[in-house]
């Protein structure tokens, strides 16, 4: 789950990582009031789930509350890489004498968290990694032992020569690691970690991605979820126990299992069609899930045909067939539907489909090619 910068900063603060004061504003008026309240120059920052906000003009320095008003007015409603800005963070402006980078992710190959630091902060770290990888210092932490103070110091001294600054940075690295593990994050990042002219080290930006699988332990994080309008279908699917990702094609796909769902999308493309979505109905075969799946797909006006590719294991084909029949009678879809059922209870499933006069297919290739042909004439 992605969360906003201001939410990430709240989490950082709860782990004792220093962050500048700030508050969230939903309107230009609110931004002006907050700026006045802070009583110092502020920075107004767009809160969207995407990087590159600064380049897009979504981050502005404001010397006065009136400037905060006008900048917030420009930023709220702005489209940044397809996402509309609905709120801004108004935060006190910080004088910067140095910018560094600190991030922690999981190294999937090494099966360990890896801490990365660089003296080249404030810019796109992926660019640094690609062009000058030697400027990024990495440390793998044994997850059983956890991070040791000396390791944090080692990393800090790669970036800072001043002992006082290095000490502060090492403290932040230790806290950031604790935050990464205890918050069930899949990524934590401070870019930039700044040193002020007075020598204070502060997290000027904050990025935290949370592991969906860990959310059950953090009920308080669930309310950090902010669903963008274009993600509403994904969210509805998630709440119903489905995985859905919208795409721009015209063949709706309903599949059980993530790997098979991806392979089905790829097969649609292989035979000259374009998949409209990824949809995994999961391992269980609750007919209601199928109904929800149909509702979500039928909402997409681009969809010209819907295919079902079901390989019954724990999922029972008759349950899915019942769900399809139920959805068809409920929604009366105008687009053609073609269904492939194989595996557990396939005979019963096919009988239900025949009864409901829904087209069947024998194989994965057949269901895909039929759906493409039907979409072409629709």
């Amino acid at each position: 789950m992605k969360i906003h910068e201001y939410q990430a900063k709240e989490i950082f603060a709860s782990f004792g990582i220093p962050v500048p004061k700030g508050k969230i504003a939903f309107s230009a008026d609110e931004a002006r009031n907050l700026a006045a309240e802070i009583g110092k120059p502020v920075v107004v920052k767009a809160q969207v789930h995407i990087g590159g906000r600064g380049k897009a003009g979504g981050i502005k320095y404001c010397a006065t509350p009136d400037e905060a008003y006008s900048n917030a007015e420009n930023i709220i409603g702005m489209n940044i890489k397809g996402l509309i800005v609905r709120k801004v963070l108004v935060t006190e402006a910080t004088d910067i004498s140095h910018e560094a980078y600190v991030g922690i992710i999981v190294d999937r190959s090494a099966k360990k968290p890896v801490i990365m630091v660089s003296a080249e902060g404030g810019i796109d770290i992926e660019e640094v990694a690609a062009k000058t990888p030697e400027k990024i210092h990495k440390l793998h932490v044994d997850p059983i032992l956890g991070i040791k103070s000396y390791q944090a110091r080692q990393l800090a001294y790669k970036v800072y020569s001043d002992p006082e600054t290095a000490k502060q940075a090492a403290g932040i690295i230790l806290k950031l690691y604790r935050c990464f593990m205890e918050a069930d994050a899949s990524l934590v990042e401070i870019n930039p970690l700044v040193t002020t002219p007075s020598g204070k080290v502060v997290a000027l930006d904050a990025k935290v991605n949370l592991d969906d699988n860990g959310l059950y332990r953090h009920p308080d994080y669930e309310k950090l979820r902010d669903v963008a309008p274009q993600e509403e279908s994904e969210n509805e699917a998630r709440e119903a126990g489905l995985s859905f990702v919208g795409l721009s094609g015209n063949i709706g796909c309903v599949v059980n299992g993530a790997g098979l769902a991806m392979a089905t999308m790829d097969l649609v493309k292989h035979y000259g069609g374009e998949p409209a979505n990824f949809l995994d109905i999961g391992g269980s075969s609750n007919p209601d899930k199928v109904v929800t799946a149909m509702r979500i797909i039928l909402r997409d006006p681009n969809v010209k045909a819907i295919l079902f590719n079901i390989f019954g294991g724990i999922t029972r084909c008759d349950d899915v067939a019942n769900g399809i029949a139920k959805a068809v009678s409920e929604f009366r879809p105008s687009v053609p539907i073609v269904v492939r059922l194989t595996g557990t209870n396939e005979t019963e499933g096919r009988a239900i489909l025949a009864e409901a006069q829904i087209q069947g297919a024998e194989t994965m290739v057949e269901v895909v090619t039929k759906a493409i042909a039907l979409a072409g004439v629709a």
Binding site: V106, K112, D211, V245, L260, M262, D266, V268, G313, M364
Partner: protein, 355 residues
């Protein structure tokens, strides 16, 4: 033979009284798996269709000599279940549970590595050695005993591929779903290593998907150590970036983990990549045919080589490498000398069972 599970496998089902646990305990038993125990805390002393249930895995191991565990508990209890099995002396743990936090798995993985315990999963459909034993949730009837090792990050996609293989009368030695999570106990490399050393396995089908670099690591390993033919498939060519595609591990992040990268990595080491799941069976069939042809030719060479020279020359025309040996009128011993070299290659130094 087969890998990870065989006729010596004695299974304890953790979470046997749950909905999935009880259903699949029956299914596994029906398939012929030695399901010797079940564990549900508080239900010790009861049973399920003749399978005794214990309160702890330690007790189940002590009383029944279970050596393999399969876990069907909810995600929030799965990590504890894995530790319990490992500490009770279980050697192979198959975790079916889905939704285990990745940062927990970092600790689990590194702990089991120290203990030398094999974990398959989490979020795995399990592992089956067809005709011998099934430890998991896959439909047993679609499998057929044979010589192709199948390893995959997916469940139903594996069934699809196995179904196609079986339809072509191509049997499988062992089929493993390693799981769709970012941190899993057993990776492609571990399976490749075992398949390479398994006498029953003649060819390997490797079914990958977007996310991470397990496929790239597998390609590098194949180049170094695997002499058996391998064919590949990668799901997710049409997947958009930065979106989790069902599996927690199936995500293209920071522009890495894409399908084209993985396909390229496979092809660079001579592993053909099927364009569709159905084509996997085609490629396997071709590889096996080539293998049998090669074997037949070798046999023919062995036979003819002991005969007077002129005859030998005639029969091995097609095999240039062997031809050289024959041309030199090498004695039988020397002709065999090509073999040890190969054996050496097939036995990687990293072969210890502990990972």
């Amino acid at each position: 033979m087969g890998i990870f599970v065989d006729k010596k496998t004695r299974v304890v089902v953790q979470g046997i009284t749950g909905r999935d646990g009880s259903f699949h305990a029956r299914q596994m038993k029906e398939y012929g798996t030695a399901v010797v125990a079940g564990v549900t805390p508080g239900k010790g002393g009861t049973g399920l269709e003749g399978i005794p249930i214990f309160n702890t895995v330690a007790e189940a191991v002590e009383k029944t000599k279970a050596n393999t565990s399969v876990i069907y508990v909810p995600a929030s209890a799965a990590v504890d279940a894995i530790y319990e099995a490992a500490d009770a002396g279980i050697q192979v743990i198959v975790c079916i549970s889905e939704g285990v936090p990745a940062n927990d798995m970092l600790k689990v993985y590194n702990y089991l590595k120290i203990k030398g315990v094999r974990l398959i999963g989490p979020n795995s459909p399990g592992v089956i050695t067809p005709g011998v034993t099934k430890v998991g949730i896959m439909p047993g009837q679609i499998h057929k005993k044979g010589s192709v090792g199948v390893v995959s990050r997916s469940g139903t996609l594996t069934y699809e591929i196995v179904y196609n293989l079986t339809a072509r009368k191509i049997g499988q030695s062992t089929c493993i779903g390693i799981g769709g999570d970012p941190i899993i106990g057993t990776n492609f490399i571990d399976c490749l290593k075992e398949f390479q050393d398994d006498p029953q396995t003649e060819a390997i089908a490797l079914i990958g998907e977007i996310g991470g670099s397990d496929e790239e690591d597998a390609a590098a390993f194949i180049k170094k150590y695997v002499t058996k033919p391998v064919v590949g498939f990668i799901a997710g060519l049409t997947a958009p970036a930065d979106k989790r595609m069902g599996h927690a591990g199936a995500i293209i992040s920071g522009g890495t983990g894409t399908a084209p990268e993985k396909i390229k990595a496979f092809e660079a080491v001579g592993v053909p990549v099927a364009k569709t799941p159905a084509e996997v069976a085609d490629l396997v069939e071709k590889k096996l045919a080539a293998l049998y042809k090669k074997k037949a030719a070798k046999k023919a060479v062995k036979k003819t080589i002991t005969k007077p020279r002129p005859a030998a020359k005639k029969s091995v025309k097609a095999k240039s490498s062997v031809k050289k040996v024959v041309k030199k009128a090498a004695p039988v011993k020397k002709a065999k000398a090509t073999k040890p070299a190969k054996v050496k290659k097939s036995k990687p130094k990293v072969r210890s069972k502990k990972r």
